[in-house]
Symmetry: C2
Subunit: 180 residues, 2 copies
DNA sequence: CGGATAGAATTCGAATTTGAACAAAAGGGA
DNA sequence: TCCCTTTTGTTCAAATTCGAATTCTATCCG
């Protein structure tokens, strides 16, 4: 309704920094991962997410939600990675509609090789530049932004479901933090 | 060299929040702009950047640098937008290699219609959720991150050049802040 | 049970993005 | 002036992404 409240100079500065920093960082990370390990940015993220998931596996929809990617896009990428042997598909016994993407040993091995570089770059370009207060502000502020958006509408809503369809108690409680 | 310094829990939280918040925000903004005005996210950004530039025009390379996009990608998009009449190309008299992308009246008019929604959404989803301290931390911290990355290596380096090739003193000193 | 509705993933064609190769022009010495 | 290197923007094919169907399954309710 009422007229628009435009951004103040500082808000504008913050917004530009936010979007630009993200774009530059993502580009750098992707270039590195591609050059040294043949991984696209999305592929790295997929490996990382799966490595942290309970059985190193996630349902397609959950994974898509976590990555904020379209379902069809994920179908495509998982297909590519399956060809490469980094991931395999497993269908769910109790729900024939569901499909799990499972990290293979090869996939895990590749992630373990790629992660140090990735994390090193993130540290160098991001965390080494920020103060602890700034890091906390980011975690808190952007965490809240994320939480609200995830709750509200939008195509990308988590499926909730939880730990149904579990394959077996293979243990392997998650993995080291190769996520970032 | 030395072994990797992995991320602390808080760093991890910050990094996830940073990437996820950006992805969710971008998606929302793009959906809106597309649905209501037929503009992709990149197209909106192009309009916004041009509207703020000295003569409502920028050289292709400068624009690509500012948007953190590839040159070829920009060529394509400017082509599309030229078809739509939102932008036109102007070549530079003093340097035959250079090409300016110029915002047309139509383009400016469309931006003026789209900007209130865009900014409104940014405010609602982002700034209304953050405290002033958090906004400052973002602006300062991520601003510094950006500055360092822009300085260092990477395909996306600004061309510096400045205000050569100016067409004429058409005035129209920039425009309102439709940027964000 | 039967039928309607919703959910999960994939398919498919169109649009976009990417990166390498290219053409054209500027700039910089010898 | 004549090369040689750099800068600019475009072109092109291949890879990726997007979104609207499509298919198949589950779930709910009478």
């Amino acid at each position: 309704m009422g007229h628009t409240r435009w951004l103040t100079d500082e808000e504008k500065r913050a917004w530009t920094a936010f979007t630009t920093a993200h774009a530059l960082l993502y580009r750098r990370l992707e270039q590195r991962a591609k050059r040294d390990f043949g991984l696209s940015g999305l592929q790295y993220e997929i490996l990382a997410r799966l490595s942290e998931a309970p059985n190193r596996e996630l349902r397609m929809a959950e994974l898509a939600g976590a990555l904020v990617n379209s379902k069809s896009g994920l179908t495509y990428q998982i297909g590519q990675m399956e060809k490469l042997g980094l991931v395999r598909r497993r269908s769910c016994p109790s729900d024939d509609r569901a499909v799990f993407a499972v990290l293979t040993e090869e996939g895990m091995a590749l992630l373990e090789r790629a992660a140090p570089d990735h994390v090193g770059l993130v540290r160098e370009l991001f965390f080494d530049v920020l103060t602890t207060e700034q890091v906390r502000a980011l975690a808190d502020g952007l965490g809240e932004v994320t939480r609200r958006m995830a709750a509200g509408p939008g195509e990308t809503r988590a499926t909730a479901d939880g730990a149904a369809c579990s394959d077996a108690g293979v243990g392997a409680a998650a993995a080291a933090d190769l996520g970032a």
